[in-house]
Amino acid sequence: MNDSRREQWLDEAAGPIVRPYAVTRGRTRPRGEKLDLVTILVTTGRSASDRLAPEQRRLLTLCRRPRTLADLASELDLPLGVVQVLLGDLHHNGLVEVRVPDLPAEQPDRRLLMRVLNDLRAL
């Protein structure tokens, strides 16, 4: 392959060179409970094994500060589903933990909503 041809292939418009779910070795479903978009995750400080994917290492670095799944997917510029699988592994292996207990299934409670209302009005 000559150089000019390679450049063509590396052009961004050609799409990602690695298909999104290659990062997860083809797995499309996270291990354990599916993490919600606004689940807040933080590292546990447990030392990671050498077998982590580079993307998982980046996630661990980012999670030194608590971040939501949506934040992480946006910062890594990886599709949400992929990040869900990668974080599922980290969670399963005790490398990250959910910071705030998950929201109740139905709806945030009245007191929290009142708080949000006051926050929005003051914005």
Binding site: V38, T68, L80, P108, D109, L120
Partner: protein, 192 residues
């Protein structure tokens, strides 16, 4: 609820979701952008896990996943509550994503355009059936014909309790008012 002093470096304390739904070109991106810091969020959704065999990979990949670009914005309040806004495509084929977005959400804003009110019917149906609190915000574009509120309400055929409000998605104050009315509505219809 009492909160200890909050340091933004600690990350959000509580993160809550609001959906912004509506048809193509109705102003979802504009609304998310006018009231929050907007950021890109990609999803590569797998449509089905079935039937992916070694033999039939050729030409099938494109059918197995579909890329959905979402508008994603975040407002972080001084007390550590973070509000996440997700602008999602309104077509029925994206409903598989809405279930996940709706889970535990405060509610939804259905953004509508008076020139194409029918484009919001599917979203209204969805939230009604799912009992997700929602408001309808009619985005008033320049040059868009102004209708009376009663006309719009009867055309939308929403429950009398559902707030229907006019807005200008480009204006921060207007977008803020829409969010405020959604939260007020969620408080009214929600659990005690």
């Amino acid at each position: 609820m009492t909160y200890a002093p909050y340091d933004p470096a600690d990350g959000p304390r509580v993160a809550l979701k609001i959906l912004i739904a509506g048809g193509f070109g109705v102003g979802k991106t504009t609304m998310v952008g006018s009231v929050s810091e907007i950021r890109p969020l990609r999803t590569e959704e797998v449509l089905t896990d079935a039937g992916i065999g070694v033999d039939d990979i050729n030409g099938v990949e494109a059918k197995n996943t579909t890329t959905v670009a979402m508008d994603f914005g975040r407002i972080t309040f001084p007390d550590g509550i973070a509000l996440y806004l997700f602008g999602t495509p309104g077509q029925q084929r994206f409903w598989f994503m809405w279930d996940e977005l709706c889970y535990g959400a405060i509610g939804a804003v259905v953004l509508a355009d008076t020139r194409r009110l029918t484009a919001s019917f599917a979203a209204i149906d969805y939230f009604e059936r799912r009992k997700t609190p929602f408001v309808v915000a009619v985005n008033c574009f320049d040059g868009g014909r102004r209708y009376g509120m009663d006309d719009i309400r009867s055309a939308l055929d929403v429950d009398p309790d559902v707030p229907v409000i006019l807005c200008d998605a480009r204006q921060r104050e207007s977008a803020k008012r829409v969010l405020i009315s959604l939260v007020e509505h969620a408080i009214k219809v929600g659990r005690p």
